[in-house]
């Protein structure tokens, strides 16, 4: 009962809604956040004219150059600047142009953002910071425009990591991230900016950080993923139902850290089988963490080993993207193998 309500949660909102893609949802959410809090500031490379993915279109016109501005091409300086602004009492949405370029800021994120509150004993914190970055495969991105980087940061205590699968989730999760008083990395699968469309309520709402979404209820096997993988898991689930009579429960993790261990383990105890899937390379990807914890808590319920269907341990190649990705056929194959274990 509880899970069904959550999955269908959006139907309970009575307000008007608008069809839009994920880019527009993010744009409108940021606009709303800026209106609600005049101490909020948004910046990043090329954010001023609207951003290379158009997520910040119109913001500078409405809120002015003091609050919406371009930074120099310097990610370490970008995040450091955000830290200083937060410490001075502002809220910040800092945009890193591509998740692939977040690494110059790795030191600031791991050694400063994540540790600020702890080492200052909460006298100061960087809780007003949301770092947004487009991530994941886009069809033609190759090595430096396709990376999924969540596991590098999931290993760092003190951060939260959120990944939306569509416009409805993007608005709710981004609103929640802005409200949350901890630093948050908000990774947006860039292919979903245009490809994910849906109905988004006009009113303000949040989706809780740390809560997974059971997108499809099933009984034979649990699939856990996020971002672009959710649609792939649903595609595989349809085929598995129609062609193999296998009932798949699909879970969108939504928050990587701290993740919804209750929802996931409840599901695996019910189905007895699990596939964890993400675009990032399999070794030490976040799937490893999930697999480890799920098997620890669901050991006696498991009918088969947990499978990981992920990117290979190579760099993201241009020519062979269709083979690299944890595709629908790979998910179907893995599920069949698991059912036959």
């Amino acid at each position: 009962m509880h899970r069904t309500l959550r999955a269908a949660g959006r139907r309970w909102l009575s307000s008007a809604a608008t069809e839009m893609n994920m880019c527009t949802a993010i744009n409108l959410t940021m606009k709303d956040a800026m209106r609600r809090n005049d101490k909020m500031v948004i910046f990043g490379e090329d954010v001023g004219f609207g951003g290379v993915f158009r997520c910040s279109v119109g913001l500078r016109d409405e809120f002015g150059r003091d609050r919406v501005f371009n930074t120099p091409v310097n990610e370490q300086g970008l995040i450091a600047f955000a830290v200083g602004l937060c410490v001075a009492g502002h809220d910040v949405i800092a945009e890193i142009q591509f998740a692939d370029y977040i690494f110059p800021a790795f030191d600031q994120i791991v050694n400063e953002v994540a540790k600020y509150r702890y080492r200052a004993a909460s006298n100061w914190d960087v809780g007003g910071l949301v770092i947004r970055a487009p991530c994941s495969a886009v069809g033609h991105g190759s090595m430096y425009h396709s990376q999924s980087v969540e596991s590098y940061f999931a290993h760092c205590p003190g951060l939260k990591i959120v990944i939306p699968r569509g416009p409805y989730q993007a608005k709710g999760l981004l609103n929640a991230s802005v409200a949350d008083r901890n630093p948050i990395l908000f990774f947006e699968p860039k292919t979903l900016y245009r490809n994910a469309e849906g109905s988004v309520p006009d009113e303000h709402y949040t989706i809780p950080i740390g809560q997974a979404d059971v997108v499809r209820v099933g009984s034979d096997i649990t699939m856990v993923g996020w971002g672009t993988q959710v649609d792939r898991m649903l595609g595989a689930a349809s085929i598995l139902q129609e062609e193999h009579g296998v009932s798949v429960e699909v879970i969108d993790l939504q928050t990587i850290v701290p993740w919804d261990v209750v929802t996931v383990t409840e599901s695996v105890r019910k189905t007895g089988r699990c596939i964890v899937t993400h675009e990032a390379p399999v070794t030490n990807g976040f799937g490893a963490e999930l697999t480890s914890t799920i098997q620890e808590r669901c050991f006696l319920s498991l009918e088969a080993p947990i499978q990981r269907v992920c990117g290979y341990d190579t760099h993201f190649p241009l020519a062979w993207e269709e083979f690299y990705l944890p595709s629908v056929p790979r998910l179907v194959e893995s599920a069949v193998k698991t059912m036959n274990y």
Partner: protein, 365 residues
């Protein structure tokens, strides 16, 4: 002010005698504490210490030139500034001992002080990361029209970090009310400035970013005070950053883990502090010449400072360490499930293995 303690023609003391005395006292206390705490490290009573020898004027006079509302991001060799802003002896010792009296609950290394009530950010070990953070606050103060600047202290070594260059760029292009104070003390651990940069110190870099810059004799209390005060005024009035380079000399070792005689030419330290070159001696000469200080006052001050640190040390050694529950607090605003589980698991383990740990040293364990 020359190394003979005499001021140049037309120069007047830029502060009151009361402030002059307070400044001198901070400088001496810094020095006395440095000696005592280094000694304590050698005795194994604290694990580590970082002295400020030779930089007392750079630190104290610059600290005194800022306003109380200015937010300072320190590096780790600015005890004079911390003392000027009110860091207590007890706080110093508790931090160095990592006991429960420490504001950070013993989480960090010695000398990692903070002064939330006096606007000084936490000292931290990663070099230079703070330099690029100060401009963010300086931008906020500008936006909010405040008579306030942010300050980043850093050394000649930290100035090589990417964050330092990033800071100058961001502060200048986004126009931030930030004063950068570089203590060029000649060394970054064992690396002399000749191995650190080829250009004309750190001051030359300001021009590249169109940042008003001033280079000052960092051992001259008057020059430091006047220069930093002017820098701050320019910064806040013009809403733009200023770069200050204080030329000084690191008299002591880098930290207690270092032995600088391994890399410094013999006689170099002495030649930098003899005949009034040491900032404390220099300022003392001036105060004495003006009848404001004498040998008796000096003796009393040094004795008082020594007693302060010894008293704090004795009290500190009787304090417990914070309960290890605080390993898990302040990680987030609220404890997430996985930290709650780990916290409970840790405590259960401790209770089941009390004899294997030094539980008595911790509060309520």
């Amino acid at each position: 002010m020359g190394t003979d303690g005499k001021v140049a023609e037309g120069v007047e003391m830029p502060f009151s005698w009361e402030d002059a005395t307070k400044m001198y006292e901070c400088m001496v206390r810094s020095s006395v504490y440095d000696v005592a705490l280094s000694e304590m490290q050698r005795q194994g009573r604290i694990t580590f210490y970082c002295t400020n020898h030779g930089e007392e004027a750079a630190s104290t006079a610059s600290g005194a030139a800022f306003e109380p509302q200015d937010m300072i991001w320190p590096q780790y060799r600015e005890l004079g500034m911390f003392l000027w802003r009110g860091l207590t002896t007890e706080s110093i010792v508790d931090c160095c001992m990592g006991n429960e009296g420490d504001e950070a609950k013993g989480r960090a290394l010695p000398v990692h002080y903070m002064l939330p009530e006096a606007n000084v950010q936490v000292v931290h070990a990663v070099l230079g990361t703070h330099i690029a953070q100060a401009p963010g606050a300086g931008y906020a103060y500008k936006l909010n029209g405040e008579d306030r600047c942010s300050v980043a202290y850093f050394g000649d070594g930290a100035a090589s970090e990417g964050d330092a260059l990033s800071a100058l760029n961001y502060a200048s292009v986004l126009k931030c009310q930030t004063v950068f104070v570089c203590r060029n003390n000649g060394y970054s651990i064992s690396t002399p400035v000749s191995d650190q940069y080829a250009g004309d110190g750190i001051a030359a870099r300001g021009a590249a970013f169109d940042i008003p810059t001033i280079r000052i004799d960092g051992n001259d209390v008057f020059a430091v005070y006047n220069g930093v005060k002017a820098a701050r005024k320019h910064c806040v009035e013009n809403k733009e950053p200023v770069l200050v380079e204080l030329m000084t000399y690191r008299v002591g070792d880098h930290t207690t883990s270092d032995n600088s005689s391994a890399y410094r030419p013999e006689g170099e330290v002495e030649s930098n502090i003899e005949e009034g070159k040491h900032p404390i001696d220099r300022f003392k000469l001036y105060l004495e010449a003006n009848g404001r200080w004498d040998a008796e006052k000096e003796k009393a001050l040094r004795k008082k400072a020594h007693t302060e640190i010894m008293t704090a040390m004795k009290a500190g050694e009787n304090k417990k360490r914070a309960n290890p529950t605080h390993m898990f607090t302040d990680m987030y605003d609220e404890l997430p499930w996985h930290l709650k589980e780990q916290h409970d698991s840790m405590h259960a383990h401790i209770q089941n293995n009390r004899d294997k740990y030094n539980t008595k040293a911790y509060r309520d364990l």
